[in-house]
Amino acid sequence: MKPSGEKPRLAVWKFSSCDGCQLTLLDCEDELLDIAEAVEIAYFLEATRSTRAGPYDVSLVEGSISTPHEVERIREIRRDSALLVTIGACATAGGIQALRNTLDHDALRASVYPSPQFIDALATSTPVADHVAVDFELRGCPIDKRQLLETLAALLKGRKPTIPDYSQCAECKLAGTACVMVAKGVPCLGPVTQGGCGNLCPKVGRGCYGCFGPKEGANTAALAAELAKLGADRRSIRDLFGGFTAGAPAFAEERRRHER
């Protein structure tokens, strides 16, 4: 993707988020040197204050768009980036902070801040793809290290990243994890959630809480009906769909159906 001899330039950007997804890049301890060898880290404030101006070959964008300033900034980054990859639940679905999307923003702001007039925020927290074109999305809260490495390796060689679109159930079955819902009646979002986390919750006996967001064609209504049969009340079903990917349309819609 670059003239020979020149390394591709990687930039890592933060928007409204907790830093956990870009931390995943630093968590690539064994592979970090390989990454530094393969790319020039041109902008990555969590790792180094040394920065280089654009353009960039690959931009990893963490965080949701939740202020007027962020709306402007993401457009500049898009202009400066050949490939823009969003990483994590905030950047791909609006994050936990998207819970405010269905609430009265002014009242919410006044309830949190003593002087709300200084808070210059949007009424909604939205995914990056609502604002600029995104080339690839990595799900998760946080993202999975192996998926990040696969995505970088693929993009650096100009191939499509191999990121499966299957459900969390597929991860359970591949790993040999017993279904917590069928075997124990534990409420689980696995059947409607995209896999990829490494089977983190079900393998320790917990239900999936959907941090990779809805899988394609998520049939949330059918799952919610089954959760009700298992004894979950409307409020707990609403809250289950109101987690880190609450703003993803399929989950937001199911949550809305369980308001009241």
Partner: protein, 375 residues
């Protein structure tokens, strides 16, 4: 066939000891974290003695059974498929020389203690798939040939079982090295062990037991018959034609309203064999690996062809699965793809029942003889 032998329940430990001494890794059904799975067994005490599944559509819960039988439970969550066809495996690695080095096959001798007749039938079905055509999957074959199969004939069905209607149980007629009938009558608890191969016969001769009496053999056969009769679900032979006539049936949309397209049914199915091949490369591009992993016709990517996926809708994915399994499998492999183990019914998170769906299609044609449970 040489005569069967009757051994006391403690004979299971002798059996495990003999297998261990012969160099087999012994795998059996174990209760782990609320479910049955196939895992290493070093003593009869590892088996889920006295436990049974309270299985229904969408629910498989382990509970105490009425008696201290070793084998009143039925099936581990996943069958032999995992053993002969790993969920994911590396096939090749290559480096800058572009020479592909095939990954060696891990195929240690394994003895499977407690294979149910439906899972034996499923292994036979998988063998037809992977070894039956002109291109033999040698990785599968090496693992399969390393198996010693100790069947257990079922004396009690789970509510999800329907092997009797698929002619694949509850009594194993062939395909095993040893078969066990567990008899508990009037305070007497014994295992009737029958050899089905020369290797099995050799092991049988080392077991401390007495030749089986005709009464025990009769009781064993009677137990199987009663188990078949106690099955609550069934699929009719006519299902093949029924599905082939049902391509445009409105019922598919009704199933899709409930179906999560989560792929659980296919991944617990002991005969679903679909896999995908993925290539991975290192960051510097100098090393590459080729992996194979289980795939499912319930994912969107599964039907991706140039330009897009063919089966975008859940209705078309469910139709594809059940029609291949119960109808087109006959054209492809000369048999049904279903052995009636019922895993797809029990382990479906929303309890979609293959026998009930077939029955619903049949009912709409006015053919009530194809009855599943209640529709």
């Amino acid at each position: 066939m040489d005569p069967a032998v009757v051994i006391p329940p403690q004979g299971l430990d002798d059996l495990i000891g003999i297998l261990d001494a012969q160099g087999y890794e012994v795998l059996g059904v174990r209760e782990t974290d609320g479910a049955l799975e196939l895992g290493p067994v070093t003593a009869a005490a590892d088996l889920p003695r006295g436990r049974i599944e309270a299985a229904e559509a969408g629910s498989v819960r382990l509970v105490d059974g009425p008696r201290a039988a070793f084998f009143d439970h039925t099936l581990p969550m996943q069958g032999l498929k995992r053993v002969v066809y790993p969920a994911q495996e590396r096939l090749y690695t290559t480096g800058p020389d572009l020479v592909a080095a095939e990954e060696p096959v891990e195929a240690p001798p394994r003895a499977i203690l407690g294979v149910r007749p439906c899972d034996l039938a499923a292994l036979d079905t998988l063998t037809a798939v992977f070894e039956g055509g002109p291109f033999v999957d040698t990785r599968f074959r090496q693992r399969r040939e390393a198996l010693l199969l100790i069947a257990v004939n079922c004396m009690r069905p789970a509510a999800t079982c329907f092997c009797a209607s698929m002619d694949s149980g509850p009594r194993a007629e062939r395909g095993f090295d040893l078969a066990i009938d567990e008899l508990i009558q009037a305070g007497r608890h014994v295992l009737v062990v029958t050899a089905g191969s020369a290797r099995g016969q050799e092991i049988l001769e080392q077991l401390p037991g007495e030749p089986a009496e005709e009464a025990d053999l009769r009781a064993a056969r009677e137990g199987s018959r009663a188990c078949a009769e106690a099955q609550q679900r069934r699929l009719d032979e006519g299902v093949e034609g029924l599905l082939k006539r049902s391509y445009d049936h409105p019922h598919w949309a009704a199933v899709a309203e409930r179906c999560l397209s989560c792929a659980n049914c296919t991944l617990v199915c002991p005969t679903c064999f679909c896999g995908t091949v993925e290539d991975r490369s290192s960051l510097d591009g100098a090393e590459a690996e080729r992996w194979r992993r289980w795939d499912s016709c319930f994912t969107l990517d599964f039907s991706y062809l140039h330009g897009g996926a063919v089966r975008g809708e859940t209705a078309s994915r469910y139709r594809q699965w059940i029609t291949h399994k119960l109808a087109h499998w006959h054209d492809q492999f000369g048999r049904s793809g279903c052995v009636g183990c019922g895993r797809c019914i029990g382990w479906c998170p929303v309890g979609i029942d293959i026998t009930a769906e077939a029955a619903a299609l049949a009912a709409s044609e006015g053919r009530s003889e194809l009855s599943g449970e209640e529709i």
